[in-house]
Symmetry: C2
Subunit: 395 residues, 2 copies
């Protein structure tokens, strides 16, 4: 028997490395192995590669290169943003108890778990409500902002349900609060899911701190960056050498950042076209799923408020972990929720929060499309899922 063709629908969890990124990395894996901090020719070659990669990413997001700090991925970037700001203010003499951080209850674990630690340190953490689509309620944000607020942190687009946050409306409320309290309040945006589908131009995002994870946009695993604005000070969360302007000590992952720069540029060069194409496929598939499986519920926002490649559904009563395994056996790679939240069983904290419905939150499936996903593939998926759902109902 032939193995079924693999249809990969978990782009939110991992993406294949871009062939041109691999080609760019190869010389630094095979030959040019110098330490970028060394003063000899091998070191200089490595340093130039790192700084060229930084310049490419900086150019793509339109900031000066010194505002790009390389990290080992999105989780580290989010941690560096949160602790970097709070610790920098603490070092400047502000007690933790005089700081407040605002976030939502639907963030990725690298934010939601990190703020619990902030809380333990004495920082007050406030959760702004989200609506049933997962969008931050800006009026509630307005109520929560205070003269103690130092940071608002949220995802650009939610990694499970794909909801794009209204960053401009959020920023507007923050600017009003800054005026009212004559303070500085920084916006941290987790852009891990963004590069393939949304602009990452720093001014357009409107953030003070912007996390990138290059493994999510066809770059190598273990690479990320934190972009920051001129006005925000952060300090390191790891202690050691002076690399990355002292913000991230440790020998730079030279081949990694070289590959990251290529992949990120490719991602951003065509995000608009990609989003136009794939969001149509997404909407076609959502319609098809809804009409084929009547009990199916769509989680998250609609249209342009939703990440182009995200489909997140619940089929209440269905064991969707088992459904994912069945789909896998038929050639489809899908997930139930985010990989970092444990891709397997258990309820989705995100869907629980937006729906208040445990049954719905227990029965989620996420299909995250790639640039080349076709509607035919999703029709086939729908068919198999529908058959499986009917079969399970009849048992």
């Amino acid at each position: 028997m032939n193995k079924p063709e693999r249809i990969y629908l978990d782009y939110a969890a991992a993406t294949p490395l871009s062939p041109s990124a691999f080609s760019a990395m190869e010389p630094y894996l095979k030959g040019d192995f110098g330490n970028p901090s060394a003063i000899h020719a091998e070191g200089v070659t490595a340093r130039l590669a790192v700084e060229e990669a930084r310049a490419v990413i900086a150019g793509s997001v339109q900031v000066r290169p010194e505002f790009v700090t390389f990290t080992s991925g999105g989780t580290e970037g989010n941690n560096l943003a949160l602790f970097g700001v709070v610790e920098s203010l603490a070092l400047a003499g502000r007690p933790y108890a005089q700081m407040e951080v605002i976030t939502t209850k639907i963030e990725h674990p690298s934010i939601s778990v990190a703020v619990v630690k902030l809380q333990r340190m004495g920082v007050k953490v406030k959760y702004v409500s989200v609506d049933e689509a997962g969008k931050m309620k800006v009026d509630n944000l307005k109520e929560l902002l205070s003269e103690k607020t130092v940071l608002v942190s949220c995802a650009y687009a939610n990694s499970e349900i794909g909801t794009i946050q209204p960053l401009h409306a959020i920023k507007k409320k923050m600017l009003e609060a800054e005026k009212e309290f004559t303070t500085e309040i920084y916006l941290h945006v987790d852009g891990a899911q963004a590069p393939l589908w949304l602009t990452c131009q720093f001014g357009a995002v409107g953030a003070d701190l912007f996390t990138l994870d290059f493994a999510k946009c066809h770059g190598p695993k273990g690479t990320g960056a934190l972009i920051r604005s001129r006005r925000v000070n952060i300090c390191a969360s790891v202690y050691g050498g002076g690399q990355e302007s002292g913000l991230r000590p440790g020998t730079e992952n030279v081949s990694g950042v070289v590959g990251a720069a290529v992949a990120f540029s490719e991602a951003q060069a065509a995000w608009k076209e990609r989003t136009e194409t794939v969001s149509q496929i997404r909407d076609g598939a959502i319609k098809l799923l809804q009409s084929t499986i009547p009990s199916l519920l769509v989680n998250g926002a609609q249209g342009s408020d939703r990440l182009a490649n995200n489909i997140n559904i619940s089929i209440p009563g269905l064991d969707t972990e088992f459904a994912a395994v069945v789909l896998d056996s038929k050639g489809f790679a899908v997930s139930t929720k985010s990989a970092c939240a444990g891709a397997g069983g258990g309820e989705s904290a995100v869907v629980k929060e937006i729906s208040g419905d445990s049954v719905r939150a227990l029965a989620t499936l996420r299909f995250s499309l790639g640039p080349d996903t076709t509607i035919d593939q999703l029709e086939k998926l729908t068919q198999i899922l529908s058959q499986h759902t009917t079969k399970m109902k009849n048992i």
Copy 2:
């Protein structure tokens, strides 16, 4: 004019990636890109690769796989060890002020800067003296150990001067103190420079926490591990998903750990033979340097107390940063001190500490040999350095 052949003598800063490590990595860079936390076939393939790599490293150091935590390198590993122990005890209710950490003043910045942060948190940091070769004075250690001591942290072999610490004597004093105070005192050993030249068998090292940096032993940059004993509890320094048993969240660097396992196994498989060969070349070169350049001083220990591949000298009065540049132009890649301490100018904190001599500490050169370095290459180096020294003296 032909470019001079490159003779790379900075193996302490960076090593070329092992070709077999690259071959092992290639499938995970080119094809198998799944997220190890995903439940589908692509995820399982990635998970198996990570766990196989962990098992290989665990087997090589002889611990159970669950005691190997992958990190992004040596700096992160050292930080995880120090903060991991202290924060774990703090979570269990022990105030920072009731903890003491003992280290030396010649550690790598990822320890020396990290303990300053511990101090700011309220932990008392005590510095045990080292002798003129850089060896920890165990009698002084005995005096410093107290019922509040929770951790002793030092390098297996110093990254600048190559001095191997008397770990068994250190451990003996710690065991005596544990008995006297009926406490647990953990030994953290930074093994970044060890794998090519010393046994990393965990029992032989005698540590509770053991940091590895695979980029220093022909593995890929951005990969490391922290090995720990059964009796020590640590908690994460980064907050997020449940990866690495919750100790190091973020998507695993799959190709990186696969390459790391191959390189580390190769390194450990032949460390003894390598050390026998290279230490003879080292000693031959040291003799030659001393007889050729009369003003030259050797920094660090002799014979088997010195890392096989380390030569560290001072030529008081010489601008050794300029000498490194001159040597570079003649084809030799050398450094003045450790890359993380800023490979360029400035005094060596390590040599300053052991010698108390600023002139000597300002004039260091480190030649760190590779497995294939020849005595002919070092003769040529000695000749050029001697000529340069004479020339500079005459100016």
